[in-house]
């Protein structure tokens, strides 16, 4: 760990805030993609079955 001196709080907070925001963005995008994809597949299969 590098010595961040008196600015450690500012630097570490910047990294923490940014990484948390990026992880939330990726996780939410991924979760919605998976949900919509499986819901669409379900509807398409049901419609195919119903003719």
């Amino acid at each position: 760990m590098p010595d961040l001196g008196k600015y450690a709080e500012a630097v570490l907070s910047s990294y923490a805030v940014s990484l948390v925001l990026l992880i939330i963005l990726v996780a939410l995008s991924w979760r919605r993609a998976v949900r919509i994809k499986s819901a669409l597949r379900e509807i398409e299969e049901r419609q195919k079955k119903d003719g």
Binding site: V11, V17, I36, A39, L40
Partner: protein, 244 residues
């Protein structure tokens, strides 16, 4: 060579982006890990800014992407207005949440850097203010999409909002160049060697920028695919309801 407009076909767009997504995801994560580890652990402190210089590896790429995401939305909106391609309207909508997160990171890291360096979290400086307005435009754009039920009307109105907001996207990019007042320093990246950051900071910064750009592209591809599928799902459900 096939025309770019073949990707206006939703199926073609999904098939093509599906092929690139895994590689884009791996490359973006690799660049971000390498760039951030390099910048955080293996670069020296700046003689004026001390260790706060390490914040540029997040602040500069995020600010760059906040502006460029809006410009990408502008291009997609113009394509929607002129050619009425649904994929372009979906792509603009898909990019907005990514852009708002980039803007938020730029604002948050800027405030965290500003407190020890300027002695204040916030100043009504031209660049900071135009960035805050850009953030509000992003929120308004997302809210407008959510508020209107008819997708075509929503795409029309959000495209107009995007055109108006572009003024602030450009202003936040160039405010430091022509507005010779305020606290914000000049651009960190410049073609002028004298104005550019030193090489020791510049190369890890470039890797971080590449990581942010690739992450943005990957997320826009993924989210556009989701928007296309959600639209098809709504259409199929509407057909179901009419048949019932």
């Amino acid at each position: 060579m096939s025309s770019i407009w073949v990707y206006a076909n939703p199926k073609k767009f999904i098939d093509t982006t599906d092929r690139f997504l895994p590689a884009l995801a791996v490359m973006s994560v690799s660049c971000l890990v390498v760039g951030l580890v390099w910048g955080f652990f293996f670069t020296p402190d700046d003689f004026r800014q001390g260790s706060t210089v390490k914040i540029i590896y997040l602040h500069v790429p995020a600010a760059l992407m906040a502006i460029n995401a809006w410009l990408m939305m502008l291009v997609a909106s113009i394509i929607w207005i002129v050619r009425r391609h649904h994929v372009s309207a979906r792509a603009a909508r898909a990019a907005a949440p990514v852009g708002v997160v980039m803007t938020l990171i730029a604002l948050a890291t800027g405030a965290l850097w500003g407190q020890p360096m300027w002695g204040t979290w916030w100043a009504w400086d031209p660049r900071l203010t135009s960035f805050l307005i850009l953030f509000l435009f992003y929120l308004g754009y997302i809210a407008l999409w959510e508020a209107i039920e008819d997708a075509d009307t929503a795409a029309d109105l959000t495209s107009i909002l995007c055109l108006v907001g572009s003024v602030f996207a450009l202003l936040s990019r160039y405010a430091v160049n022509f507005w010779n007042q305020g606290l914000h320093q000049g651009a960190s990246l410049s073609l002028d060697k004298e104005e550019n950051v030193a090489d020791v900071f510049y190369f890890p910064l470039l890797v971080c920028i590449a990581g942010f750009v690739l992450l943005f592209i990957a997320l826009v591809f993924l989210r556009t695919q989701t928007e296309i599928r959600a639209r098809r799902m709504r259409a199929l459900m509407a057909r179901d309801r009419m048949e019932a």
